[in-house]
Symmetry: C2
Subunit: 311 residues, 2 copies
C-alpha cells in the first residue's frame, strides 16, 4: 500500500529545509532553519527535530539531499566540504522506521526540476546551481545520473588559483557568488571607482551579489558590470564544456545568481555560443529553474516515491 | 530469426576499418584502408566496397562509428571535423537491405571495450581516445550514453590558444599527439638540445609521438621527457575534470599515445591524483584499453546486435 507523502530534506549548508511533499509534488508543509556554521551533530539534531514534526503514518519514506560526495550504497557522506563535521556520517544511523534515501543536494534539485519544474519537458538536461559555490546534476533519458556531477570543480584555468577542494582553477573560483564578491572587494580595495563604496554603510565586506547586480543595473556602475560580466564569461566556458560533453537538450540554471540573469547569464550565453560546438549549441535551451528553494526538497522527496527514478 | 554476424565500420579519419563480427565479439574478417585526406564521397565509396565484400545473408545489420557530431534520429553526421566533406551526410542514403546504426567513433570504441575489452568489469566508465585528437565515450550503468562526449574539446585553459572547433584552450591542444609533435617541433626550432634532431634524417617535421617516446625512454632525452610530461600533466587535468563530473569506476585510455604510458600517462595519473576529489580518485581505476584498433569495429557491430544497449 503506497502512502501519499514523503519527507524531503535539503541539507545544503546555508539553510536546512525539510518538507512534506505529496505524490503530485505539492509541498504541503515546510520548515526552514539556518544551519550555516553549525556543528555536524547539531545539524543532524536540527534535521531530526524537523523530520519528527512532519512524520506521520502517511509518510512513505525520507529523502535527503546533502552537499558533498556520497557513498550511496551506505547512505554515507564521504566528503562534505560545506559541513566538514558531517564527513563520514551515515544516514542509516538515523534509525527511522521508513526507508531513507540520500543524494547529493544539486542532484536532488535536478530531480526536483525534472519532476515538477523547468525540466519537465526535457529528457536530457544538466542543472547548475549557482550560489556560494557551483553544483550540478545530470538528467539523462529522464533519469538522474547517480554521479558526482561536481561541475563547479571542473578546472577551466589549468594553472589558476588553488581551490579548497585541492584542484586549481575550478569554475566556481571564477563564476560563483563567492567569486563575484571576492572580485568586487579586491577591486574596491585596489581603489576602483564604484557606487558600491557607499553600500552597506561603507562596510564593503558585507556586499552581496544582489548589491552588485543592483549597482550594475540601476546605476550602470562600471565596476559592478565588469565583475558580473567576467563571472558570466567564465560561467559560459563551464556551460560550453558541459554542452560539448553531455550534449543536453537544456542547461537549467538555479540558485541566487540567476537573479542577475540580464548581465551575468546573458554574458554566459554569449560566451558559450562562441565556444560550444555549433550544432550542439543550436539545439540547447539555457533557461532558469522554476522551483526556487523548493527544488531540493521536492527532488529529495521524489527519491522515496520512485527510488531515485524519474519516470 | 537472429543472424550470427554484423558488420562494424570505424570511419575515424586516418583509416577506414570494416569488420565482420560475430555475436561473441570475434572479428571474423576485417579490412583496413587508408582514408586520410580523401574526399567525402570517395570515403563513402571505399566503405561501400568494403561492406559489400563482407555482406552475406548471415549479416543482421551494419553499425558505423564515425568521427563527428551526429543526429542519431536521422543517421546523419551533423559536423565532421576530420572529414569535412561528410558533414551533413546521412547514412540512410546507403540504401542497404539491413538496418544501419550510426554512432560517434569514440562512443563506438567505448561500447567495444564495454562488450569485449577492458571495460567488461565496469558498469560506469569513461573511455578516452588519445591520438591525433582526443575523443571520449561514456558508459553508465552498462549502457552507452548517447551524448557527444567530446572530452577533447573541454576548455581547460580559459583564454588559451584557439582550437579549430571554435573554442579556446581545449584539452586536445595540450595533450594530443598533434600537441606533442607541435611542442617538440617548436622547441627544436627554438634551438633546444635533443637527440630528436638526428631523427628522421634531420626532417623534424616527420617526427612521430613514438620517436619522442623512444628518445625520452631510451636516451633519457630531456626535451622529449619534458614534452611528454607536460602533455601528460594536461591529460591529468582533463581526467580529473572527468572524475569530478562522472565519478566513473574506471577511466580507460585508448589510442596511439597509450604506448607512451610510462611517462605520459604516469604523469597524467600523478596530476589527477592531486586534483580530483580524493574520495573519487581512490575508487577510480585508470587503465589501458585492451582491444586496440578493433574496439571501434566491435563497438559499431554491437550497435546492431543490441540496438545500442550493452547489457
Amino acid at each position: 500500500m503506497k502512502k501519499p507523502y514523503s519527507i524531503g530534506v535539503d541539507l545544503g549548508g546555508t539553510n536546512l529545509r525539510v518538507a512534506l511533499v505529496s505524490r503530485n509534488w505539492e509541498v504541503v508543509r515546510k520548515v526552514k532553519e539556518p544551519s550555516m556554521g553549525m556543528e555536524g551533530g547539531d545539524v543532524i539534531q536540527l534535521m531530526k527535530k524537523a523530520i519528527d514534526g512532519l512524520m506521520s503514518p502517511e509518510v512513505e519514506g525520507i529523502g535527503i539531499g546533502v552537499a558533498g560526495v556520497l557513498d550511496r550504497a551506505e547512505n554515507r557522506i564521504t566528503t562534505s566540504p560545506n559541513i566538514p563535521p558531517l564527513s563520514g556520517y551515515s544516514f542509516n544511523d538515523l534509525n527511522y522506521p521508513v526507508p531513507v534515501y540520500v543524494e547529493n543536494d544539486a542532484n536532488a534539485a535536478a530531480l526536483g526540476e525534472a519532476r515538477a519544474g523547468a525540466g519537465r519537458d526535457f529528457r536530457n538536461f544538466v542543472l547548475m546551481t549557482l550560489g556560494t559555490g557551483i553544483g550540478g546534476g545530470i538528467i539523462y533519458g529522464g533519469e538522474l545520473l547517480k554521479v558526482a556531477a561536481e561541475v563547479g570543480h571542473m578546472s577551466i584555468v589549468a594553472d589558476g588559483k588553488k581551490c579548497f577542494c585541492g584542484n586549481n582553477g575550478c569554475l566556481e573560483l571564477f563564476a560563483s557568488a563567492r567569486a563575484i564578491i571576492a572580485a568586487t572587494i579586491e577591486a574596491l580595495e585596489g581603489g576602483a571607482e564604484s557606487i558600491l563604496r557607499e553600500c552597506c554603510q561603507g562596510k564593503i565586506y558585507r556586499i552581496t551579489p544582489e548589491d552588485v547586480y543592483k549597482a550594475a543595473l540601476q546605476e550602470g556602475d562600471i565596476l559592478a558590470r565588469e565583475v558580473l560580466k567576467e563571472a558570466g564569461r567564465y560561467l559560459g566556458i563551464g556551460i560550453s564544456n558541459i554542452i560539448n560533453i553531455m550534449s543536453p537538450e537544456a542547461v537549467i540554471l538555479a540558485g541566487g545568481l540567476v537573479g542577475s540573469w540580464n548581465i551575468y547569464v546573458d554574458e554566459a550565453i554569449k560566451e558559450a555560443s562562441k565556444r560550444a560546438f555549433k550544432s550542439l549549441f543550436q539545439t540547447v535551451s539555457i533557461i532558469p529553474a522554476s522551483l526556487g528553494d523548493e527544488a531540493g526538497v521536492v527532488g529529495a522527496a521524489s527519491l522515496v516515491f520512485n527510488s531515485g527514478k524519474v519516470f
